[in-house]
Amino acid sequence: MNFELLTYPVVVAQFFVDGLGRGVMYGLMGMGLALIFGIMGLINFAHGAFFMVGTYLMYFVAVQLGVPFPIAIIAAAVGLFCIGAVLERTLISPLRKRMGENWLVDGYVMTIGLLIMLENLALIVMGPRDHGIARLVEGRTMISGIIVTYERVVVFVVAILVVLGLAAFMRYTNIGRAIRATSEHPDAAMAMGIDIRKIYTITFALGSALIGGVGGLLLSTYPAFPTIGSDVLLKSFIVVIVGGLGNVWAAMVAGILLGLIESYAQGIAASGWQNSIIAAVVVAVLVFRPAGLFSKSVSRP
């Protein structure tokens, strides 16, 4: 432990900016997972694998085809939307139909199967090599001694836009309202004429699209690699658990919190231990506040 660094205000501010930048990324990663869990109750273990597919799509569209980055990111998101929709329809929907109430355990084992398949297919097709870009946006600036890269700013702005966009989508569109109704009470939603099977497909596809787009956005930080997803999956889990399972907005806050903790922990403690500390924090949250750190109730689910 070495607290000496934290006596300099500039260093503290720099850690804050780094942590914020990192935390926004974690928040973005967690949102898709939280969305799918919140609406469908399904823990998507293939979440990290979807991220990986997103990074590869981004690499191909942006680097091989030379399409501008913003369009390439959207292409990655659209690609994952289609993949998610097809997988939900062919694999997850029949499972839910057959198993009734108890489909969830089999559901997440199913996504584990998907994860194994996708990762190893990527390993065969792409090989164990990094495919990445140097940076999304060139340049950086110095604000009173604190270095801020423009890329961080772009990611931050995109994160805010995604959060606001998703909130608006959920609140003001008919599909968004239907999704919220389905998550609250599937039977009542069905009685109101909502095709909940379609809603589940859309939700899964939307969650996949979110993580695919995030994969594209973060290609410079997380270069495409077959097993890049396992780290992303773990980070998403942490964010989603700390924020409360299924709470999309809290996932973003929890992500920023995690980023800040990591940033400061790296500054004061030997590297490596922050992983153990964060794992312990996650267990503590699961035990003492299973509904999330920011939940009002402390009831055990």
Partner: protein, 355 residues
């Protein structure tokens, strides 16, 4: 004697015969190594299934639990010169403590929370093991000494057959204990809790206590197997492939492919998947894709796993023998997994043939 139980004895006898005789007859280090991994994965999957298939406890920390057992044994022998034979028990005991801790803090929660808590506890153990470099040597790997001779039999790594038989004995002991527990009154309570937790607690059974018992037994044995595994491979490295999510995923796949709620199904699963892995060595990289595809396939078409398929076959043959479909075996009904609405295992054959 009822034919279905005859089938059970026949199958068990056949399995024992194959497991006992094939490695020495083949007298080939490769075959022995394959059989060792079959047995290891069989017993780990059976332990996983003992929790999942009987109480719906999703232990996502199997890999980390194994790691704790392996490292307890390894560190004790490395730093204190304690015999690896005692290390086996010590590994079991330390993992039992971890299991009790995990159980006390999680078993009141709903299924997915148990899974996530055990996952992160295991991650914590793994991270801690790789960070405590002064003791565990971290990623550099911890050397584990071999078992000393016992009754004049050498258990060195040059004698894979004696190690294999040691593992065989461990597996038989564990399997017999689990089988006994599942068949006893306690096992009935397990199944009752699985099928209706609230109803069972209303009957006056302390649900959490039964869950804790199940979890503790499984954790202890996982630690013992982990300690054996450490001695078998000789060097411990805290990687995800060895002791992390990947390992847990493999165990889970085998348990699922074998069939949930049937301990012996895990043996079929282990034989099928390890056989698949070894058989497809030629197209090395594709085998893991097949692994995943196999898992998805089983979930889609065969939710009862290979055990369900075998039961279906046995039921079919039995129906042929006796002329009509017999009454369903209650055990079979109970072991088709947690309250599934899936297709019934026993096929309903038509009473008479169409003229």
């Amino acid at each position: 004697m009822k034919i279905s139980s005859l089938w059970g004895y026949l199958g068990a006898g056949l399995a024992l015969l194959v497991l006992l005789l094939v490695p020495p007859l083949a007298d080939n280090h490769y075959i022995t190594a394959v059989f060792v991994s079959v047995l290891l994965f069989f017993i780990l999957a059976a332990l996983f299934d003992f929790m999942l298939g009987y109480l719906n406890i999703f232990n996502f920390g199997m890999g980390g639990f194994m790691a704790l057992g392996a490292y307890t044994s390894g560190l004790l022998t490395h730093h204190f010169g304690i015999s690896p034979w005692i290390g086996l028990l010590a590994g079991g005991c330390s993992t039992l403590l971890l299991g009790l801790f995990a159980g006390v803090i999680t078993l009141r929660l709903r299924g997915i929370y148990i899974g996530l808590t055990t996952l992160f506890l295991a991650e914590f153990v793994l991270f801690a093991l790789s960070n405590l470099r002064e003791y565990t040597r971290g990623a550099a790997g911890l050397q584990v000494s071999t078992f000393p001779d016992l009754f004049g039999i050498s258990f060195g790594r040059g004698d894979p057959l004696s190690l294999y038989y040691l593992l065989f004995v461990i597996c038989v002991v564990i399997y017999a204990s689990l089988h006994f527990l599942v068949r006893s009154r306690v096992g009935l309570v397990f199944k009752a809790i699985r099928d209706d937790q609230l109803g069972t607690s209303v009957l006056g059974f302390n649900v959490v206590r039964y869950k804790l018992l199940n979890f503790a037994v499984a954790s202890f044995f996982t630690g013992v197997v982990g300690a054996f595994y450490g001695n078998y491979i000789g060097i411990l490295v805290p990687t995800t492939q060895e002791f992390g999510i990947s390992r847990t995923t493999e165990i889970l796949t085998i348990a699922y492919v074998g069939g949930r709620g049937t301990l012996w199904g895990s043996l079929l699963g282990a034989f099928a998947l390890i056989g698949l892995q070894e058989g497809f060595r030629v197209i090395d990289e594709w085998r893991l894709v097949l692994y995943g595809a196999f898992l998805v396939f089983v979930l889609m078409v065969f939710p009862q796993g290979l055990a369900g398929a075998v039961k279906q076959l046995a039921g079919w043959v039995e129906a042929r023998f006796t002329g009509s479909a017999q009454q369903e075996d209650p055990e079979q009904k109970a072991s088709t997994g947690p309250a599934q609405d899936g297709p019934e295992v026993t096929p309903k054959l038509p009473d008479r043939k169409v003229p």
